[in-house]
């Protein structure tokens, strides 16, 4: 087992390294310089000082090695947009809101999604099934940039039930979490339904039924427990998606999260920020996948043996 974990760990480090490298050089491909107008107005000597400050005067391979060294030390550089702040500081400042929103929304999606999925499966091909699936599908059919402003306008402003935006008290969390949960609910509901149906067709459920066990007991102690397993294993990547996919909701509900930072760093050509955030996001994803694999390996010995899923 230890060998397996070690091997996965080495893969993880290699993947991260490739991503850092790829992002670094992709950034170099982008045209232009991040100093924009300031550069045009400055005497060339000052521009040279500025470039030296950010290490842009050295050959690219030197810049790369230096950057790599800094990343290992946990230093992602200084932002160009916010000359007084480092990328790590920006992440520290902005990520908590995204993370919190992501977790809240994920909890909501799990509760609603699984419920819908279970109802649909237990009432397979009945109206409950159709309507649950329909509700779930609506979630992936309407873009969040329609849902979010609608919620802000109606629930927030016109009906005045909840705040239309900002990130202050718990009441500010509800609408964004709902808007963000929409898509995830659909995925979870469909997966839960499929998983339940699969389990329902297995022999031990039939056995349990013929033993005359109460339906409730069968559902809870036999079906749910087994059907939920595959959901748990994909929850990691889903969580990452939710946490990193908060962009639209963040900008509509004016939440100070990292998603918005990412877009503004791209549109302002803030190289260090783009590279840093890409690496940060990629690292989260890779670490979660690593952990998922380890958990998988613990649960299922076959995987450990063959070394792959």
């Amino acid at each position: 087992m230890l060998k397996y974990v070690l091997r996965r760990f080495v893969y993880m480090v290699i993947t991260l390294w490739v991503i850092i490298t790829a992002t670094f050089f992709l950034m170099k491909l982008l045209p232009g310089n991040p100093f924009g107008e300031a550069a045009a107005k400055m005497p060339p000597e000052n521009l040279a000082i500025l470039k030296a400050q950010y290490g842009l005067d050295k050959p690219e391979w030197q810049q790369y090695l230096k950057y790599l060294g800094n990343v290992v030390k946990g230093d992602l550089g200084v932002s160009y947009q916010f000359p007084t702040r480092t990328v790590v500081e920006v992440i520290k400042q902005s990520f908590p809101a995204s993370l919190e929103l992501g977790i809240e929304s994920l909890a909501l999606s799990v509760i609603v999604g699984l419920t819908l999925g279970i109802i649909a499966a237990l009432r397979h091909n009945k109206w409950q099934d159709y309507s649950s699936m329909f509700i779930a599908l609506i979630g992936i059919s309407i873009p969040s940039f329609v849902v979010a402003p609608l919620l802000s306008l109606y629930v927030g402003n016109k009906w005045g039930i909840l705040p239309p935006g900002l990130w202050e008290g718990p009441e500010n969390r509800i609408l964004p979490a709902i808007a963000l949960a929409f898509g995830t609910i659909a995925i979870l509901a469909r997966m839960m339904r499929a998983s339940m149906l699969e389990v329902a067709s297995l022999d031990y459920i039939k056995t349990a039924k013929s033993k005359g066990l109460a339906t409730g007991k069968i559902v809870v102690s036999h079906m749910l427990r087994n059907a939920i397993l595959p959901i748990v294993t994909i929850l990691g990547p889903i969580a990452v998606n939710v946490i990193t996919g908060t962009l639209v909701v963040e900008s509509v509900f004016v939440i100070p999260g990292l998603g918005y930072q990412f877009v503004s760093s791209i549109t302002t050509l803030d190289y260090t920020m783009i590279t840093g955030l890409t690496i940060f996001y990629a690292a989260i994803l890779i670490v979660v996948m690593f952990l998922t694999d380890i958990v998988y390996g613990l649960v299922d010995p076959r995987i450990r043996m063959s070394g792959r899923r």
Binding site: E45, V78, T84, Q93, P164
Partner: protein, 561 residues
């Protein structure tokens, strides 16, 4: 010149406006700001309402450091937590702030002697002296500070030498020779390189604020990065700053004029989406919101709606090296003539912006106490679809080509930016029969391509850095970094350069007007509109000034009714 950047990023939003109708009761404060003015001020305006204000604000300031600040957001916040020698009142007239009185200007217009108030203090209680100004100007000009607005300080005698200093010794020497001296603790003497009629007003701007050397050098790279890394001597102090979320300002008890500051607390929530911003306003979560054209329509005629016309012009540039046909005046004129600017402001902008009637916008001074536009008149190429076609045909014949090459018009990918491109393309197609493709790009990319002259037509903006026609006209000098279209006119160069050195303000204004006329007659640049921005401000808010350039708003004299 950094302004343009900010302008175009958030086109929907703001700098500036003429005065607010609602400023009425500030007159007394403005004209005679005596420290002992109103005794009741500390406890509010006397009506018993809570002197607290909540505002939407469209951007998080990148850095609250006097030297390196370059965005309107930084200007606005620093304007509240710090102060210069003067502060502009609602009519944009400088009134003494840290200075005790208006400057004594020498006869040659070069030397300004300014007496500071007695007993001035920084917000941390330390005394504020003339030396703090000297330090500030030296620091901004130091090339190592990398201040993009340093050029405004090169107006000081020897300022350019500081900027150009290569070695520490050179720097030290140049800084010592710089045209700013602390005669004693309360007397400052500033010497200019040439007379500048608008200099007193400029002393009210951020670039001429003082800085506390001890405090600033203690912050190192982090100066202005957080609430505890900013020190001012203004009406408010920055109590907290959650980046990208919220800034809280509270009244500064050490401020020399604290008695006349009525607001106890101002909360600025960073709100970038105007739709949500309006939702917050309508559900009473904020007292101030900037809005867009279509939202403005619903508030037409209501007292909450305020508009400010800014010193901002939206215009087109035609790149002449990449598209040789644009070197022909008739072709440029034809392209300009085919655009219905009236339709543009009514259909695309709908925010109170007016069709441009020249390059220098309405409200900009001529450097001689008059409004430039009023005496220069309408110099714009008039909209005339039929004549545009004839001109284009003639022009193409002169150039010797049958039709224009493949053209694209580049612009920002903001909502308004894209709509503008759509409108232009449709106009050229309908009125001129010319096909032009749109190329909306993220702001920084658009700017980069513009400055590297990698475009055929660009839709862009310029905002005044100071209230003088020169901020508009020196950019089209041959070889200037912002003359990206490679237009060249010897007479124009001659006029602008002569005006730069002219000590006679009246003659100078004439030279600049003549220069602008050449610019317009040659259709070297095609101004589309003078920008205006709409705001919603709750009726209970009194005395909030929305200046036409520089900061977004002025809070010192604001109160809640």
């Amino acid at each position: 010149m950094k302004f343009k950047k900010i302008f175009s990023t958030a086109m929907a939003v703001t700098l500036a406006g003429t005065l607010l109708a609602a400023c009425g009761n500030n007159n007394s404060n403005n004209s005679s700001p005596s420290p002992s003015g109103s005794a009741s001020a500390t406890t509010g305006s006397g009506t018993g309402s809570k002197q607290e204000l909540v505002m939407n604000y469209r951007a998080d300031p990148p850095a609250l450091d006097v030297s390196i600040a370059e965005s309107a957001a930084s200007f606005t916040i620093l304007g509240a937590i710090s102060e210069g020698l003067y502060r502009l009142d609602k009519d944009m007239n400088p009134e003494p702030a840290l200075a005790a009185e208006l400057p004594k200007i020498s006869d040659d217009g070069l030397t300004y002697t300014i007496k500071l108030r007695d007993g001035l203090k920084w917000a941390n209680g330390e005394p504020l002296t003339a030396k703090d100004f000297v330090y500030s100007y030296q620091r901004t000009l130091d090339p190592a500070t990398k201040a993009s607005y340093a050029f405004i300080l090169t107006w000081l005698k020897g300022g350019q030498a500081v900027q150009d200093a290569k070695t520490p010794d050179e720097l030290k020497k140049a800084q010592d020779e710089l045209g700013v001296k602390a005669i004693d603790d309360t007397t400052l003497e500033i010497t200019l390189d040439q007379p500048r009629a608008y200099f007193t007003a400029q002393l009210a701007f951020l670039n001429y604020y003082p800085q506390n050397e001890k405090f600033v050098s203690a912050q190192g790279d982090k100066s202005g990065a957080d609430a505890d890394k900013v020190l001012g001597a203004g009406p408010f102090v920055l109590k907290s700053w959650n980046h990208e979320q919220q800034l809280v300002l509270v009244k500064n008890p050490e401020y020399w004029d604290a008695a006349n500051v009525k607001l106890d607390k101002v909360t600025l929530n960073i709100v970038k989406d105007t739709g949500t911003g309006l939702n917050l306003y309508e559900s009473n979560k904020t007292d101030y919101a900037d809005i867009k054209g279509d939202q403005m329509k619903a508030y037409e005629g209501k007292s909450e709606l305020h508009r400010k016309s800014e010193l901002v012009t939206g215009y087109l540039n035609f790149q002449q090296t990449k598209v040789p046909a644009f070197a022909n005046v008739k072709v440029r004129k034809a392209m300009s003539m085919a655009i219905d600017r009236e339709g543009l402001v009514n259909v695309v902008l709908k925010n109170g912006s007016v069709p441009a009637t020249g390059y220098v916008p309405n409200g900009n001074s001529d450097g001689n106490g008059q409004e430039f536009r009023k005496s220069a008149g309408d110099t714009e190429v008039a909209f005339d679809a039929a004549q545009a076609k004839t001109l284009l045909a003639e022009g193409l014949k002169e150039v010797g080509i049958a039709s224009l090459p493949k053209l694209t018009v580049m612009g920002d990918d903001t909502e308004t930016g894209k709509k503008l491109l759509e409108f232009l393309v449709s106009q050229w197609k309908t009125n001129l029969g010319v096909d032009v493709a749109t190329e909306p790009l993220p702001h920084a990319t658009r700017l980069e391509k513009e400055l590297s002259k990698n475009y055929s037509i660009v839709s862009t903006l310029w905002g005044a850095d100071y209230n003088d026609p020169m901020t508009w006209l020196d950019m089209y000098l041959t070889g200037g970094p912002f003359n990206t279209q490679d237009w060249k006119n010897d007479k124009y160069n001659e006029l602008v350069k002569a005006a730069e050195k002219n000590l006679d303000n009246a003659a100078r204004a004439e030279q600049l007007k003549e220069a602008e006329k050449i610019l317009m007659d040659e259709a070297a640049v095609f101004p589309l509109y003078f920008r205006s921005s709409p705001f919603l401000i709750k009726d209970k808010v009194d005395g909030l000034i929305l200046p036409p350039y520089g900061p977004d708003f002025e809070l010192k004299w604001t109160s809640v009714k």
